[in-house]
């Protein structure tokens, strides 16, 4: 009964990838420079403004922070908020390996 009903609507549990692999929407890829990123440079958990602001929760609080590119939509909020400008938005096309 319950499952039948839930399948008649768009119904989902919170968890990674419930809206599909949204990383494919990305045009610009955020890339963290560990030489400038505060936690990476200091080797201690600190700053994490990127983690705090990421609307999709795809940035970890690690050393250095890691971005889950399967789901990062490339909105660029992390790059905008990073106090040391450690995150660059790089054209996604530049990561495509050309077939030779």
């Amino acid at each position: 009964m319950k499952d039948d009903y839930c399948r008649k609507t768009s119904h989902s549990k919170s968890g990674p990838g419930d809206a599909g692999k949204t990383g494919s929407w990305r045009i610009l890829r955020p890339v963290i420079d560990p030489a400038v990123c505060i936690p990476a440079k200091r080797g201690t958990p600190s700053c994490y403004m990127c983690w705090l602001y990421c609307p999709d929760g795809v940035i970890s609080r690690g050393i250095p922070p890691e971005i889950d590119y399967e789901y990062c939509k490339g909105c660029g909020i992390c790059a905008e908020e990073c106090p040391t400008k450690a995150i660059r938005m790089v054209e996604e096309s530049s990561f495509i390996k050309e077939d030779t």
């Binding site: 009964m1 319950k2 039948d4 009903y5 839930c6 399948r7 008649k8 609507t9 768009s10 119904h11 989902s12 549990k13 919170s14 968890g15 990674p16 990838g17 419930d18 809206a19 599909g20």
Partner: protein
């Protein structure tokens, strides 16, 4: 118990007997006395429900959507521009498959402003995925409200119970109030198959992509098109549920038996007049006069407009010579919506000589323009006695250009 009261009070008493748990509404003429009555009943402690006053109709239905998602039996009511202000939320309620019941006290739509009756408001919302039931008198109003909750909760599709502003909402008529013990057995408390549960968080009505997706459990989840297809399927299948609910009600209360259409002197009729709401009873008087003159004519009222009971309509009309549809609504640039739908239902039924009944359309009573019995009489008589010309163009009754 028999009482004499207004149509709005009949609706309010139906909501009370249905034990609605959340009522959110914004007052609008001619619906206002209905919501006033409900707030009085709740304030007096005669009904256990949350009455939530809101700043708009959009919010009224949004609250019903939230309350219904949380598993509460929810009710709202509106008219005319208030219904149109809900338009976006109407689609939401049906797409979210919430068994909300709403009374639409039919009124013409501005501009220009009118507070008087026609059917343009609810007719223009026919494609929102709500079931639409039309009541012809006060008894049908109270009975339909109670049946609407049972139906909505069985098929998980919201239901509009529509009735004429002023002509029914503000006139007084005798009607029977069903016994509460009987309505309780007919309509037990709402037990949703699923509702919001803080212990089991979920996203409801989330964005769908253009294709199906795999959910976090690795199970294929429906996309937008699958969900909409299921609504259409369930909407069509709800006609069986409507019959079941109606016959269950009839077994207990002894009223009902014609949930799709109500026919009057139609069995042998060569011509059938079609009307909705109080107009269909007005047409009965005209048909009686025409029958006295030997004209073979009957009346069919549409009790259910969405889902469209196309089989019942075709069965009732296919063998007659002419169908004359009297409408208080118009799809501007074409004709009355009921007329188009009736023609569509008759399309597949071709008589032995390749003939179908002609279908004529009269537009009347817009914005409360008085419908004179003599005008109905003349229009119907003319349609039954002369060969129709340009049948696709609706004729107007009572127009004073």
């Amino acid at each position: 118990m028999q009482i004499i009261e207004s149509g709005n009070v009949a609706a309010a008493l139906g909501v009370k007997l249905s034990r609605a748990q959340v009522i959110a509404a914004y007052p609008i003429t001619p619906q206002t006395p209905l919501t006033e009555k409900l707030s009085e009943i709740i304030e007096a402690g005669d009904m256990t429900a949350e009455y939530i006053p809101v700043e708009s109709e959009h919010s009224a239905l949004a609250i019903c959507i939230a309350a219904s998602s949380a598993g509460a039996r929810s009710f709202t009511a509106t008219s005319a521009n208030g219904l149109l202000y809900m338009h976006e939320q109407l689609h939401w309620a049906s797409g979210a498959r919430l068994p909300i019941v709403m009374c639409v006290v039919n009124r013409g739509v501005g501009a220009p402003w009118t507070v008087w009756n026609d059917h343009q408001d609810s007719m223009s919302q026919r494609d929102t995925g709500w079931i639409q039931i039309y009541a012809n008198d006060h008894q049908q109003i109270i009975d339909s409200v109670i049946k609407a909750f049972a139906l909505a909760e069985e098929v998980m599709i919201p239901v509009m119970v529509c009735y004429d502003g002023y002509l029914l909402s503000h006139t007084y008529m005798p009607f029977d109030i069903p016994e509460a013990t009987l309505t309780d057995s007919f309509l037990p408390p709402y037990r949703p198959a699923y509702c919001l549960d803080p212990d089991e968080p979920a996203n409801l009505n989330t964005v769908t992509l253009s294709d199906v997706r795999t959910d976090i459990n690795g199970v294929k989840a429906h996309g937008y098109m699958e969900i909409r297809h299921l609504l259409q399927q369930d909407m069509l299948a709800s006609m069986d549920a409507i019959e079941r609910v109606d016959s269950r009600f009839k077994n207990i209360f002894g009223r009902g038996g014609s949930p799709f259409i109500e026919s009057y002197r139609s069995d042998d009729a060569r011509f059938i007049a079609v009307g909705i709401g109080s107009l269909s009873y007005h047409l009965r008087d005209v048909v009686d006069d025409l029958r006295d003159e030997g004209i073979s004519v009957g009346v069919m009222s549409m009790q259910l407009y969405r889902p469209f009971p196309y089989q019942a309509v075709a069965k009732a009309l296919k063998d007659c010579q002419g169908v004359i549809v009297f409408e208080k609504a118009l799809s501007y640039g074409y004709q009355g919506p009921v007329c188009s739908d009736i023609k569509s239902a008759l399309y597949h039924y071709v008589g032995p000589e390749g003939s179908r009944p002609f279908v004529l359309n009269y537009i009347l009573g817009l914005g409360g323009r008085e419908i004179l019995t003599k005008d109905l009489y003349e229009g119907l008589k003319l349609s039954c006695t002369t060969k129709p010309s340009s049948p696709d163009k609706p004729r107007w009754i009572g127009l004073k250009l």
